[in-house]
Structure formats: C-alpha cells, structure tokens
Subunit: 410 residues, 2 copies
C-alpha cells in the first residue's frame, strides 16, 4: 500500500496570497467602480527588453532549421551562458569561479526548494523572521521542521527576528544550527547587510561547520557601495555558502523562467560515513538525475542580458522600478511613517501607524484608499505591524497610490 | 554542522552514457577518418515544426510589449494549454479529466524524480528490468533502495524482469510492493503492453492499494490498435495511477523542455495519521512551493502542437522516425537477429548473436562497423545480451548503418 510522506501532510495550505486575493475579490465585487492599485505581489510589469527578445527570435529560428537545431543540452546549462554569468557577475568583482560551479536552472525557487534533498533530516535550520515562506515550507516537507506551534512557527526551526529594533540585522543564533537561509537584499523587508555584517555570518559558518544558503535574487537592485552583491565577496564564503541567483527581477524573466545556483567545489557538508562530502558533485548528480536543463531559447535570452545593449536596457528597467521605490519611500516618510528598504531592493517595508496589526491595516488600505499591500505578518510573527509594498508597478500608479496615502486620514 | 543525506552518497556515478562516450572518443582519436553513426542516444534530430516556431515568435512578440507581457503564470500551467491537452489526449479517448488534474512542467524526468517527495521512505518500489535509470536513482536518493548489491541492483527494490522469454511482459510481483514504475511504450526495449496486459496491473494496484507511476512519454509512437496510449483507458486506473507525458519526443521538445503530469483527484495514498491522502492536492502543493511554472513562450509552443497544422507536422516527423525504426527492424531481422520494439516506439532492442555480452558486442559494433548503440546491460541485468538502437537519426544514416550490418561478418 502506497504510503505518503507524513511530514508533507503537516504543512498547512499556502495562505497569504490566496487570502489577500479573496479579500480583494470580495471588495471588488461590492465596489465595482473602485480603482484598485496593486502593490502587493512581487511580479514585474515591464516587458522583456529588446536585446532579449531579439535573441529569443534568433534562437527560435535556430531551432527551426535542421543544421542549427539543438536537442538535449547539458543539464547544468550551456557554457555560453555560464561563462557570461561568471564574467559579468563574479569575475568583475574579483570572484574566481569555474563554469562547472554554476548551474543554470528554471529559477531560484526551484533550486532553493530542491537543494534540501542533499541534506539529512537531522539538520537544524535557521531562517530570518519575517521570511520568504518557501524556505520553511520545503523543510517541513522534508521532515526538518518539527511540529507546528500556535505562533505559526515550527518547533525545530530557529527563527532570527529582523525588526526595526535590531535594524533588520539578524543576531547570530544562540543555539547550534546547521543550515542558515539568508536573503539579502531581503524579501520582504527590502533591507540589506553591509560587508561587515555579512562577514559575521560567514565567520560563524566557518567556525561551526554550518552551511549558508544565500538568496541573492535581488542583487541587481543594490545601489550602495558597501552592500555585497554576492556572498563570495566575503572571504571564506566559497568554503561555506551556496548562492542562488535569478533573472526574474534582474531582466523581467518571471514568465520566462531562468536562474542559476553557484556551488563552489570547496563547499562541503559532513557525512557520518565518508567525512566531508563535496556538495558540487552532489548537486550535479541531483540536477542530472532529476532535471533536464533549461530551454535553449531561454538560455540564449539570458545570455543576451549580458550583451552591452541587454545590460543597458535591463538597467533602465531597474532604474524605473527604483524610481518608484524612491517615490514610495519619500511619500511615506513625508507623512511620518517609519519606512525601510527601497534603496537596495524593490521592496518597501513600513511600520503601520500606531503599530496597528498588519491585517487590520491591510484591510483599511484596501477599503479606504484602494491600495493593495501585503500584510507583514504573513511572512512571520516579526512582520506583525508591518506592510510590504513593491515598486514593480507603473510610475503613474505608484504616484497615484502615494497621493492617496498623502490625503488619507489614516 | 551541516549533515548530508547519506543515502544520496550511496548512489554511484551515472555510468552508462559517459562510459559510451569515453569509448567513442578514444576510438575516434585513434581512427580520425572513421565515419561513426550514432544510434545510441534517445534525442531527436529533426527541427521544431513550423506551427510551433510560429507560435514561439508570436509569444516572444507578446512578451516584448507592455500590453501583452506575462510575468508569473500559474505554477500548474496555463489553462489554454491544459484544456488543449485534455481535449486532444484524453477526452478524445473517452477519458474525463479536469484542467486541475493536469500539471504542466519542464519535463517528465523532473516530475518522475520529484514525485518521490510525496511518499514515505518506507514504500517498497518495483521497477521493470531493464529500466530507465532515473526511477531507481531518485529512489536511492530518497532512501528507499536499501543497499547496492554486487549485481548492481538494490536490496529493497523489487525488479520485474522483461526479456524475450516472457515477451517483455513483466509478471506481477510475488511479494507486496507499494509503488510500481511502468513505462509503456518501453524505454529501452521499445515493447508495449496490450490493454488486457495493462489491466492486470491496474487490477493488482486496486486490489493491493499500490500506486502505479505510468511513464507514457512515447505514446505518440503507438501504431497498433490494441495498445493503450494512456493508462486511463483502463477501467479503475484513475483510482490508482499517475501518468507522465512529454512533448520531448512527440514534438521534438528535448531542447525546449515541456511535459505534463496527470494526477486525478481520485488517486490516494495511505497516511497513518489521516487515512487516505489525496495526491492531487499534495502534488499541487509541491509544485506551487518548489516550482514556478513553465515559460509562457514554451507553453504557447506546446499549445501549437495541438493546432491542425501542428498535429499534422508533428505526425510527419513521427512517421519519419518510425520509417527509420522499420528500416532497422527489417534489416536486422533479415540478417537473422532477434529484434523487438520499433513498431510502437522509436527504440529497437535486439539480442546479440550467440548471446554475446552487451559491452563486448557494443565494442565490436563500434570498431568493426562504426555504429554506436547502447549496451542493454546498462539498463539492468536483464538487459545483458541485448543492444538498444534508436530511430531518431536521419534516414540516410539509418540506411547506411543497416548496410554495414548487412555486410558485416559478425
């Protein structure tokens, strides 16, 4: 008789965005004339840039002709792409990587979920709070989370609060942990760590044998000098960290699907039977066994992100979104809100006036000024009393939304 | 200290195709003038059909314009595609499915690997022998395989021999099993089951509570009336089977990446805590948590496979490959070989003359007639003494290879 994975069943349904959607649909059905502005979901709105779509048309033409058709490619990604990634993202920052340390995939979310298969159930996981739910949910599925507590947290997971009180810089854990998820620039708070702050985590990992899973999906939005784009800018990180990157926000690939994961050959985890095990080889085996690579057309599109036109065009889009971020930041600060993020990330995280609870304030935003945000508590208990806004809308919508905030007697 | 998944480490390196490649490269370096014909790897060679590339160009244009750009799509796939799949693949055969029972993905291999996460480590797995290595390897990674035996088989896996002696029809297992992998039309043998033969497996699963994971990646190559394209043509299968499909061979998508998995809402597995658990909801939760859907452009390409031009053009390519299969079958039979497959599948499986061992005969094919096959033993002990050839080459190469067999004093 086929038996299910019982841990999987302990995972409650995904609640946050479906609950937001339910409330929006309900409101809209009662107020059909309302002009809602959506600032809740982290999806891009600008179309693909010309360098990218030109490359895609070209690749489609290649796939249409017998002489240039490509069937199965390397599961790890084509060299033409991994070499460009290394050149522009890492070598340019003095980080040495070889092409077989970079694995192209259909996105960060897949890789951050699938990487768990390499590790024992006995690892203690640490995550920041608030946190991107995928890190936790995938560990629940794999049996590392323990029991669901009334707080909505899990008994075996170590949560590292990030709030205005600690400047959104998580403290090192007080008990031993084995695998640490860090996402900087952070989703949902939009905050970052400086090199010095990140170095503490690398040193901690090196000293304790912990592994850092570093989500750098938003690095392209960094504007400040002292904020590292890659964890490998920190000495020793190639011994203890795996980094996850994505073209989703950098190049508007949310509907195209391409990302990559860097697994330096020097990163190991401990095996009771063989001592140190090299994670690069394990991830390679995982990907060649359970994955068949990314569409040739998509990989040519990603390569075009690194052409001179591609870089220029993508940077223009990022600048557009970051102007929105600035509009939001300044407007909300102007009316006296405590505002975080939005300088090195497309997310703005603000404290509700009077520390009103997140869902209550979300509801008032929806019904009183018709602006849709995301309740911070949806990302974890330390998000209570915060709202996340995203900068991915149009400039016009962003400005209109801010005018509504400014004239709102909240 | 980060701890690895020890079971993962017990998996030996992937050997078969790298070993073939090593031998070919070595031979080629010593005989640079040799004109090698590759009939070993199951990759298509004909370019994408016009209906598909037209749809891709159109979709790229949509992604280039703000009004038609698409960001994140549904992780399960767009309705425009799942509805077409249901109409053409299932409803046309009297099988009723709803769109939320079909999950679009980047391919069969990913889904067949990832599905294991839904199940307990305690399940006993059954596979046919010879077998597509991914079924076994993914279960090793997840701790269900036990220990590696000297035979190359695993102590906890039940192997179901498929040889000429039983007409490549596996017998029902003698001991209880929980999850059964079936692939028909079969890779590597190219053989099939009739409706009556498959019904025995469905009845067995219904009677014992076992689950069938049915790989139907090659169904488009079926030419005989009595061979089911879908397991759901068999009464009761929607209670006990998950089916995996792919556009890779049907439409030449090996470099494009699209497949789909059918999980009827009536399929359950047993939970010690909750009784029967509905696998549709679990797979939905897995995909929404660890996957972000397939490229919009790829989904439009897959949709175009179902247009009237697309169907006609894809069928022409399949007919081309199946003519190759027929050329191979007839030529090898003509020189007295025992030949299987090649009627409902693009694979031909033949017994080596005098039951010479697979690798020895592979080497002689390579060095004496410069034709590259795949040693059957690479797919499992019951493949010893067989060779797999694929029909995916050009007609000219296929004919030349057969002439070499015909004039070979093997």
């Amino acid at each position: 008789m086929a038996l299910v994975n019982e841990q999987f069943l302990s995972l409650p349904g995904s609640y946050l965005f479906s609950e937001i959607n339910r409330k929006v649909v309900e409101y809209k059905s009662l107020h059909t004339e309302a002009s809602l502005i959506r600032m809740g979901i982290g999806d891009v709105t600008k179309p693909l840039v010309k360098a990218v779509t030109d490359a895609m048309h070209q690749a489609v033409n290649e796939m249409a002709a017998a002489e240039t058709f490509r069937g199965y490619g390397p599961e790890q990604g084509y060299r033409f792409l991994t070499e460009k990634i290394i050149e522009h993202e890492f070598a340019s920052k003095g980080i040495n990587l070889s092409p077989d340390e970079v694995f192209v995939s259909d996105g960060c979310k897949s890789d951050m979920g699938n990487i768990g298969g390499l590790f024992s159930r006995d690892n203690v996981i640490a995550v920041t709070d608030p946190v991107y739910p995928v890190y936790v949910d995938t560990n629940v599925m794999e049996g590392r989370a323990g029991n669901l507590l009334e707080s909505g947290q899990w008994s075996n997971i170590v949560y590292l609060p990030c709030t205005a009180d600690n400047g959104f810089v998580p403290s090192l854990p007080e008990k031993p942990v084995d695998i640490i998820y860090l996402c900087f620039p952070n989703n949902p708070t939009g905050t970052t760590l400086t090199r010095t702050q990140l170095k503490k985590w690398v040193d901690f990992a090196l000293n304790t044998g912990a592994l850092i899973l570093f989500d750098a999906a938003y690095e392209a939005f960094i504007s400040e000098e002292d904020v590292p784009h890659s964890i490998y800018e920190i000495e020793g990180a190639t011994q203890c960290a795996i980094e996850f990157r994505s073209f989703s926000k950098t190049a508007g690939f949310t509907g195209v699907r391409c990302g990559y994961t860097v697994v330096p050959k020097t990163v190991t985890a401990f095996s009771k039977t063989t001592g140190n095990a090299v994670l690069n080889g394990m991830w390679n085996r995982r990907q060649t066994t359970k994955f068949n690579g990314v569409s040739y057309i998509t990989q040519r599109a990603a390569e075009a992100v690194y052409s001179s036109e591609g870089r220029k065009q993508c940077m223009e889009n990022i600048a557009y979104y970051m102007e929105n971020a600035s509009i939001i930041r300044e407007a909300l600060k102007g009316i006296g809100f405590e505002v975080f993020g939005g300088i090195n990330a497309p997310y703005i995280w603000f404290r509700t006036p009077g520390k009103e609870d997140s869902w209550h304030f979300f509801n008032r935003m929806l019904t009183e000024i018709n602006v849709i945000g995301t309740p911070g508590v949806g990302f974890g208990p330390s998000g209570e009393g915060y709202i996340r806004l995203t900068a991915f809308g149009s400039k016009e919508d962003t400005q209109t939304a801010m005018k509504r905030f400014q004239s709102w007697n909240y």
